[in-house]
Amino acid sequence: MQHTNTQDTLVGLFVAAGIAGLFFLSMQVSNLSSFTEHDSYTITARFENSGGLKVKSPVSAAGVKIGQVTGIRFDPKTYQSVVSLSIDVQYNNLPEDTTASIFTAGLLGEQYVSLEPGGSDDYLKNGGNIEITQSAIILEKAIGQFLFKSAEEKAEGKKK
């Protein structure tokens, strides 16, 4: 009987260790702990160009994550990119004249939406729309413009 009891204990330990491993993977390794399904409300923002923004990209205000991108689609009428942002309901006091910009975290990092609150007394509601937006900076475009500009300056310098 002693023998089977030790076996039971070892099997119990094994199962407990396995479940602890699974728990560790889901809590410590994956985004499950940060992805607690809070109540949220959705607002949309129209960008001229949403660059490399993806669904599930973070939405932050003052550097703090307050929501995520839930949808990106192309509007064939205005030729703009319509981005749906799902914001945590505890941050329901974003002013109506909030500015949305697309920034890149670091030089090669992923892109995120940054919200900068304005000064209006009216708050954005579910289904609301952000009017003032700033598109993603496309690196190739910026480099192209820079090269073009410096070439132009050189040519002008030669003329003088």
């Binding site: 070892l10 094994f14 491993g21 993977l25 994956s30 985004n31």
Partner: protein
């Protein structure tokens, strides 16, 4: 020429009948599971020999695989100045691929071969027919508990492998090579998705556990009851398990991570 065709036809027929026997055997095992559940002691004993005894090899291999990933990943990533993403690389490769696959390969070598040898010897020493004489169904009594134990142990072992590996990668990465520990974990948490990565990894290991236990038990049950036959069956278990694990892994990966 005709001889060759005959040979080809014969081996095709043989492999089809074997597949048929294996499928029929699987149906018997699965229907036998119901009679295992009221007797958890049978299952517990097999969980011990299949799971607990594989525990050590799995955790130690996991630790070393994680440490090697930490080293290799660091050398490659530091070329691009992206050492901070080491955590993502280690965790993604372990949770998605190496965890389920390597632990299944080790499981096939450690537990699968033992299962085949055990069942094969039971058959060779006519213990199985003896049971049938006593009106005890060997499938229900011997095979099904082992199958269930393999199926349940495999996801636990794979999870342990990945968890220990990630800790090993962290030991080497931030302990030895100086990657920031906070960046290691936070980058990992930001990029590993619970549904896409963890759940799919567990599903993979469940499939591998199913296939490996099935192959091991079938090869033992189907072996020629001589010492040579049992030794061949054991070899076949390891080889066939490795093939099916790697082949299935490709298919599962294509299905799970295809549309990203």
């Amino acid at each position: 020429m005709i001889e060759f065709l005959q040979l080809l036809g014969k081996s095709t027929r043989a492999s089809f009948t074997k597949l048929g026997r294996a499928s029929f055997f699987l149906i018997q095992i699965v229907s036998g599971i119901a009679s295992v559940l009221p007797r958890p002691r049978l299952l517990l004993k097999q969980m011990y020999s299949v799971g607990v005894l594989s525990f050590l090899i799995i955790t130690i291999s996991g630790l070393f695989v994680g440490m090697v990933l930490g080293l290799q990943g660091y050398y490659t990533l530091s070329d691009f100045g992206a050492e901070e993403t080491l955590g993502v690389m280690v965790a993604a490769s372990l949770v998605r691929e190496l965890g389920p696959v390597v632990s299944a390969l080790l499981f096939a070598g450690r537990a699968g071969s033992a299962l085949t040898a055990e069942i094969g010897l039971m058959k060779a020493t006519e213990q199985l027919s003896g049971m049938e004489m006593m009106a005890v169904d060997p499938i229900k009594r011997i095979i099904s508990p082992r199958f269930l134990a393999g199926l349940l142990s495999m996801p636990l072992l794979a999870a342990l492998f990945s968890a220990v590996g990630i800790i090993g990668g962290q030991l080497v990465g931030s302990g030895l090579l100086g990657v920031d520990e906070g960046a290691y974990w936070s980058q990992m948490q930001a990029n590993i998705d619970f549904q896409d990565d963890i759940i799919n990894g567990v599903l993979k290991s469940l499939v591998f556990g199913f296939v490996t236990s099935w192959i091991a038990l079938f090869e033992g049950y189907d072996s020629i009851p001589t010492s040579e036959g049992v030794s061949r069956a054991t070899t076949r278990t390891v080889v066939n398990s490795a093939f099916s694990i790697l082949g299935l892994d490709f298919i599962l990966t294509a299905l799970m991570f295809g549309d990203d």
